[in-house]
Symmetry: C2
Subunit: 520 residues, 2 copies
């Protein structure tokens, strides 16, 4: 048995030319193929399904013992997930899936050229059961509830796989490997695993490392012997989407310490370098995503995504998506808005509207102070679009929670923000946040802007890396294995930090030297 360390290969598709059988070498067809591969892969742990085995004799002879193997691997070893002719013209592809609670994004990749062939997305069809994870998990307690949720997401994926393949004029049969990143609950629903205990103390997932499954057993209609890699999670509240994000950022290989933050309803944070990684997750509150505020909504045409207040005229400059009349505001727009309101003096350091500055823009609705952001005659709803003190208070709590989490995790290892080499902003939402605005309101630390690195859809990015760089599948497991999870104790120290972070930008203004309000 060959026992040297496993060899790195740079592509999942490997061409092998076998010794032809003879009376002197009567090795079986499957074993002949495996033996050739084992010389390249430096291991004997190579698996092939019985059903593929049945096709091997004919394929080897048809192709004159020169074949392309589509490989994959899990913690136990390599898997031959498909065989093609070396002169095969159709692309041999893989699919990366970002399994979002709200939106599912897929990317079709040529496994040989590593080029992206297409990308597409669709609303998670489970939304019709419940907009958030919690409501969906509750639904699984009903009879057939889990089955229905699983069917919805699997069917949704299969439909979109058909679309994306059609758009590239290939068949789903040409997809040989799939890699899936999603939060713990979403991947559980995807695999048909009961998420019941995920939301109940002590919050135990069915599985942390699902590893590599058969596409057919999950119900994904691609090549019949295709395999699916599901990113591992490190708990109910720190999912595979984050592990995928870390993989994509490369922070786990950096000499210097950096931080990665996924801003959302939950703020998920990872701190570390190539020697250690520490992670925590905490409720930052849906206010940051614009989910709770009265005027908040998801990004779409007519939604305010950027806000500027002209320092001279003190006029609001509102930008909406597609320049349509304003309907509401999304999370990044909200961060911009609050930042500008604070700098312009409409909001004070305590996060309260300043009537003298707001003047006639400040009205009262149902006994609550509201600031008119877009007047009725300019809005797409024909009503005033307002931002209330209640919305603002919620927002303040959320931004304070975000900062406190960042503060707590860095303090836990005795690191200051200024020591960080990079501040990775992960996730699609994060990529729309203007770091300057986030710093102005004291939500993110006041570090040089060039240290901020926006990753975009890092979950999809990491899932794609699995397809283009075989060694990444081991790295994903290594990341999962080496992360220390920091349980956020909401203790007195946390509360003190949190109270301070509820001010604009913070009670300790020295932490935010770059933030200058226009009128002192």
């Amino acid at each position: 048995m060959i026992q040297t360390s496993p060899k790195k290969i740079d592509c999942w598709v490997l061409s092998v030319k076998l010794q032809k059988p003879s009376l002197k070498d009567n090795t079986g067809d499957t074993d002949r193929l495996k033996t050739s591969l084992s010389k390249i892969l430096h291991t004997n742990s190579i698996h092939m399904d019985l059903s593929l085995m049945k096709e091997v004799p004919q394929l080897l002879r048809k192709w004159d013992y020169h074949v392309q193997c589509i490989l994959f691997k899990d913690s136990s070893g390599w898997i031959i997930s498909g065989l093609t002719h070396t002169a095969e013209k159709k692309p041999i592809t893989g699919l990366a899936l970002d399994l979002g609670t709200t939106r599912v994004v897929m990317r079709l990749i040529d496994l040989c050229s590593k080029k992206v062939l297409a990308e597409s997305s669709f609303d998670n069809p489970q939304i019709k059961i419940g907009p958030d994870i919690l409501s969906r998990i509750h639904y699984t307690s009903s009879k057939e509830g889990l089955g229905e949720l699983t069917r919805l997401i699997i069917d949704g994926c299969n439909t979109e796989i058909n679309h994306i393949c059609n758009s590239c004029r290939i068949s789903p049969e040409d997809i040989f490997i799939v890699s899936v990143a999603g939060n713990t609950a979403m991947t559980h629903l995807f695999m048909g695993l009961d998420p019941y205990w995920i939301i109940r103390e002590p919050y135990i997932p069915v599985v942390n490392r699902p590893g590599v499954l058969k596409a057919s057993e999950v119900g994904i209609d691609v090549y019949k012997y295709a395999r699916i890699f599901i990113f591992p999670n490190i708990g109910s509240y720190f999912g595979g989407d984050l592990i995928s994000g870390i993989l994509y950022s490369g922070m786990h290989k950096n000499e210097e310490t950096s931080i990665l933050v996924d801003v959302g309803t939950n703020a998920e944070v990872v701190l570390g370098n190539k020697s250690w990684l520490i992670a925590c997750a905490g409720a930052a509150g849906p206010a940051l995503e614009g989910g709770v505020t009265k005027m908040g909504m998801m990004a779409g045409p007519g939604v305010i995504d950027k806000v500027r207040i002209d320092p001279d005229s003190i006029q609001f400059e509102i930008h909406t998506i597609d320049n349509r009349p304003a309907l509401g505001i999304c999370g990044s727009g909200l961060i911009d808005l609050v930042s500008q309101l604070f700098l312009a003096g409409f909001v004070d350091v305590r996060g309260k509207f300043v009537p003298d500055a707001c003047e006639e823009k400040l009205i009262e609705q149902d006994g609550i102070q509201c600031l008119i952001i877009v007047p009725a005659h300019e809005s797409g709803t024909k009503k005033d679009i307002v931002f209330s003190q209640v919305d603002l208070d919620l927002f303040v709590s959320s931004k304070a929670a975000m900062y406190t989490i960042l503060n707590t995790i860095t303090s836990s290892v005795g690191i200051e923000f200024k020591d960080l080499s990079t501040f990775y902003v992960a996730g699609t939402f994060g990529s729309f946040i203007d770091p300057v605005s986030a710093i102005n309101i004291g939500m993110m630390p006041d570090i040089p802007l060039e240290k901020y690195k926006v990753l975009g859809n890092s979950s999809l990015g990491g899932a794609s890396l699995i397809l283009t760089h075989p060694e990444m599948i081991d790295e994903a497991d290594k990341i999962q294995n080496c992360i220390t999870y920091l349980e956020l104790n909401v203790n007195q120290e946390f509360m003190i930090r949190f109270s301070g972070a509820k001010f604009f930008p913070n009670t300790d203004a020295s932490l935010f030297p770059s933030v200058k309000v226009w009128q002192e």
Copy 2:
């Protein structure tokens, strides 16, 4: 990752008590179980099917985190093939299968106590397609032929599994692992693999090491997540039944060199010790099994299985199975018969009938000399049961081939028969052969009788060992891996030996000092 060498366990059923989950230890249910096992097994390569994973959370909580795991393993690592309660009363069983061309034998074993619960057998239902492997393989060339043959054997096994389980008042669901030994063609038909190339030069099987498969993918109806180990072969003509026999004999662990022989249509021979194993197979001819001779038949009521000629009266003493009137003769009876005929002088050293000795027993039928063994009035057929010169010639060729193969393999490594510590006689047929008779005719070497060790159904014996001794599954692979296959060249030297071996007992009588004819 734990990298120490894999631990040996002495039973496939392992009881584990897990740390209960808490806020401080939120490891997923499946991973919690695997982690506990990995401490015992000293490896992280532990696989569990998605479908079993789905049941884990409920089972762990129902059984208060104290479970019995039914394990199995293949070359890639361990497999959790089932979970039961530690207080489970029903036996946890495994099934050993000897997949014979003619007869299939199964043995049900309690995996914990290692006791044999039941044994049963049935005629291979493929006989209705063809009595021998060759005719069945030809049949696979017809449309649906392979499917039909596979269905016949799988259905036959499933029916018998039901019977054997009923007889023990257990359910097929209580069978968690299955181990199957059979010749290369039979295991191919069992797995649904096309045996087309097995009988065509250069005789290539689809697979040498099928390893561990899911019972469900093969179609065997036992516990839904059960696994099946198929013994590896080393070529089209040296199957898993032989590897299983070697395993059962233990010769691969002996300090001293021994030989193992499976006598049948094919003579399969293995020579070696713990350092090396060399094997060869050659056509000995169906005459040895009684298959070709006119009076030959398979063992059954009325079949002659023992023959003695009284040295004083020169009367034939014929023993039949169940003492019924004679219908024919089986292989072991034939070896006895020829041995006695030679010793009594009815047959000379050249293998020809001696008219002066045979007297009126020697008649002529269709111009061929025939010896009456049982006269018509005593036989069950009401006809003379005769043994013709043609039958005798065929038999002589077969016994000569057998001896020549033994001679060739030992000579190839410079070993003499007297150097052998043990002469294992494998296979069911072999267990009926009287070694004295086999020596008398020069079919087997003239070594001390105590060196002969009859193994009985060694194929079933080896398959059973897999169930009772987990380390044996690695040993089976090791045996397959270390055997050198000796291609029997029918060259001049072989032919010289063969010619000499066609005499009784041999041209070189000094090789058979113990053989004494009664009248010189």
